[in-house]
């Protein structure tokens, strides 16, 4: 039989050559200087905050009842929002990446709007939609459902601001993966739903995962829309960022300690699951 180490076809050579380290980087020295300034700009404030932590009181501060309640609420609502982002964002990304219909560019622009909109504006918009006097709020009120200033409102506010992150990264992944595998699957007799379930989604799983992680991180940090649309009720709508803002007025040490917790959670989430996006359709190099 043909040896396992037989040279592979043209498909991978260009990529391999690109990846191979030639020793030449081509980055001018002054770029490193500016990059260093950029890194400092991000790291210095974090260091300043860590320097301000009252370590003696750290554990009692972050384990106080209000802190733990806020942290728990943040994690639960962020998880729920991320699931909602996946449920709504995957179809949106598919439609934007694969279909073509009139108004598609407009739809993309509006889906991405929350990225550039001040969250407080998003909160107001949500209030006029789901609030008691809002567009849907009245009908919901009739049905006995009140959303504004409830935990549901927190989830909706977070989903509103985090959805674009999932849509953007998944749409990019879908476009990179291309339609070649999907076309092959269809000619092999797979219905569109089967193609989606067994080919499209598995191929963009890394993109979906990184999109979900980004969304989760954005949910965790959400403040403006939540405060506007959901208020700040302890145990119901007061998430960790709201708790930090509140504590800052009265107890700066507690605010700093909680901020550090939020940084730690965010770093853990992003570090654990957000890996460098690989070429999605790329096959791993041969092992032999």
């Amino acid at each position: 039989m043909t040896p396992v180490s037989a040279p592979r076809s043209t498909a991978w050579t260009a990529r391999t050559i690109n990846r191979r380290d030639t020793g030449y980087t081509g980055v001018p020295p002054w770029v490193f200087v500016l990059a260093g300034a950029g890194a400092l700009f991000v790291l210095l404030p974090l260091a300043a905050m860590v320097a301000k932590v009252n370590w003696g009181q750290f554990v009692p501060l972050i384990t106080s009842e209000s802190s733990l309640t806020a942290l728990g609420l943040s994690l639960r609502t962020s998880a729920a929002s991320t699931l909602l982002c996946i449920a709504l964002g995957v179809p949106l990304a598919l439609v934007l990446a694969r279909a073509s219909f009139p108004g598609q560019r407009l739809l993309r622009a509006f889906v991405l709007l929350p990225l550039v909109l001040p969250p407080v504006v998003g909160g107001i918009a949500l209030l006029y939609t789901f609030g008691r006097q809002g567009l849907l709020g009245r009908s919901l009120d009739f049905a006995g459902i009140q959303i504004a200033f409830s935990t549901t409102a927190v989830v909706l506010a977070q989903t509103f601001v985090a959805l674009p992150f999932l849509v953007v990264s998944l749409e990019g992944a879908l476009r990179t993966a291309g339609t070649k595998y999907e076309a092959v699957a269809a000619t092999l007799g797979a219905r569109p739903t089967t193609v989606l379930r067994r080919v499209s989604i598995p191929l963009v799983l890394p993109g979906l995962a990184s999109g979900a992680v980004l969304s989760f991180a954005r949910c965790l940090g959400e403040f403006g829309a939540t405060l506007t649309f959901a208020g700040s009720l302890q145990g119901v709508t007061r998430t960790l960022p709201l708790e930090i803002y509140l504590q800052r007025e009265t107890d700066a040490d507690a605010a700093v300690a909680l901020s550090l917790v939020l940084v730690a959670v965010a770093v853990a989430v992003v570090g654990l699951s957000y890996r460098r996006p690989r070429a999605l359709a790329a096959e791993p190099a041969p092992t032999a």
């Binding site: 037989a6 076809s9 092959v184 007799g189 193609v195």
Partner: protein, 349 residues
């Protein structure tokens, strides 16, 4: 149980009619961009033609004539497509890849895997069953892709240059494999390789500019080419023109002396065909009937087997390296291509 197709796609200037018997393999030849892949895309259902009609067995694949707009989606057509790249699903192992078609058709997991094992054995790739596609060489992956296509039991197998991306060692093995599995099957294979056409296909069609310019038994097309492209594939020089009493007047105005075949009527469109080995190259005009002598400008020289192929004026001549050196040939030189009248075949186009 035949396959018939006629389809037009104006955006790509494509208009082709074709039919295939139950176990017939047709080779599609033609230059790049001629519409060969468009043809397969239309049959597979990946490209929707503007008008036309196609029937595969008792299924109407599409009917877009006279106000109809019936067009089956790809997954219901029974036309598996094998492309240049194997396109094995990278997230499944080899066995799951081959079982994909049967699973999609509704087979349960056990029987789909059994079908997959059968076809992997059929392409001599059983030992790769548990590997990931990324762990296979190009030739191995393409064999698995053949098994995956055959596992769907397609009524019509579409092959789009299946050997084009393979290295020189892997191609012969896949060619033998395809010869075996295509023997009892209906298939359309796009190829750039005369060998593929001769070995795998019963019939060949040449597609140029979105139209079929030549069709017939593969041997016939290569032995008596009527299009520039088929002549090039067969390694022959071809000059189209008008048949005369003593040969042919080419479209370029050359008067060619030859013996027109029986049935060639003066005034009819025809072609003059001759082998590059029948051409001698001289630095000055050679006269004396019954020889043809054309002044041409050398455009290129390239090694061809143990000969030098001289390209000049759209024709080619094969001469020995020694002769080339003696003549001192370089691109841009004007030389005379001299061909015996008896070495030129003239027949109707």
């Amino acid at each position: 149980m035949t396959f018939t197709l006629n389809a037009a796609l104006h955006a790509r200037n494509f208009d082709v009619s074709l039919s295939l018997g139950p176990a017939e393999t047709v080779a599609v030849l033609g230059p790049n961009g001629a519409g060969k892949s468009t043809l397969l895309g239309i049959i597979a259902g990946l490209i929707r033609p503007d008008s036309g009609h196609a029937v595969l067995g008792d299924k109407t694949l599409f009917n877009l004539d006279a106000g109809n707009s019936h067009c089956l989606p790809p997954h219901t057509r029974g036309t598996a497509l094998l492309a240049q790249e194997p396109l094995l699903f990278p997230h499944m192992n080899v066995l799951e890849n081959v079982a994909f078609g049967p699973r999609a058709a509704g087979a349960n997991r056990a029987s789909a895997l059994q079908t997959a094992r059968h076809w992997l054995a059929e392409v001599e790739a059983s030992e790769f069953a548990d590997r990931r596609p990324g762990q296979l060489s190009g030739g191995q992956a393409q064999r698995v892709a053949v098994a995956r296509a055959l596992a769907t039991d397609p009524e019509l197998l579409l092959l789009d240059e299946p050997m084009a991306a393979l290295d020189i060692h892997a191609a012969p093995m896949l060619r033998r494999l395809l010869k075996r599995v295509l023997a009892s099957r209906r298939a359309i294979i796009i190829t750039h390789d005369v060998l593929d056409a001769l070995m795998l296909a019963d019939r060949a069609i040449v597609v140029e500019g979105g139209r079929i310019t030549e069709a017939g038994p593969t041997r016939g097309v290569l032995e008596k080419p009527r299009s520039k492209f088929a002549a090039g594939l067969a390694g022959m020089n071809l000059l189209p023109g008008i048949i005369t009493g003593r040969g042919l007047t080419s479209d370029g105005g050359l008067d060619i002396t030859a013996h027109p075949e029986d049935g060639a009527v003066p005034g009819q469109d025809g072609v003059a065909v001759f082998s590059p080995t029948a051409v001698s190259v001289f630095l000055s005009a050679e006269h004396g009937s019954p020889r043809n002598s054309f002044a041409v400008t050398v455009t290129d020289l390239e090694p061809h087997g143990d000969q030098i192929r001289v390209h000049a004026g759209g024709l080619s001549a094969d001469i020995t390296p020694a002769a080339s050196a003696d003549l001192g040939l370089t691109p841009g030189m004007t030389v005379y291509f001299v061909i015996k009248a008896t070495a030129i075949a003239v027949y109707p186009a």
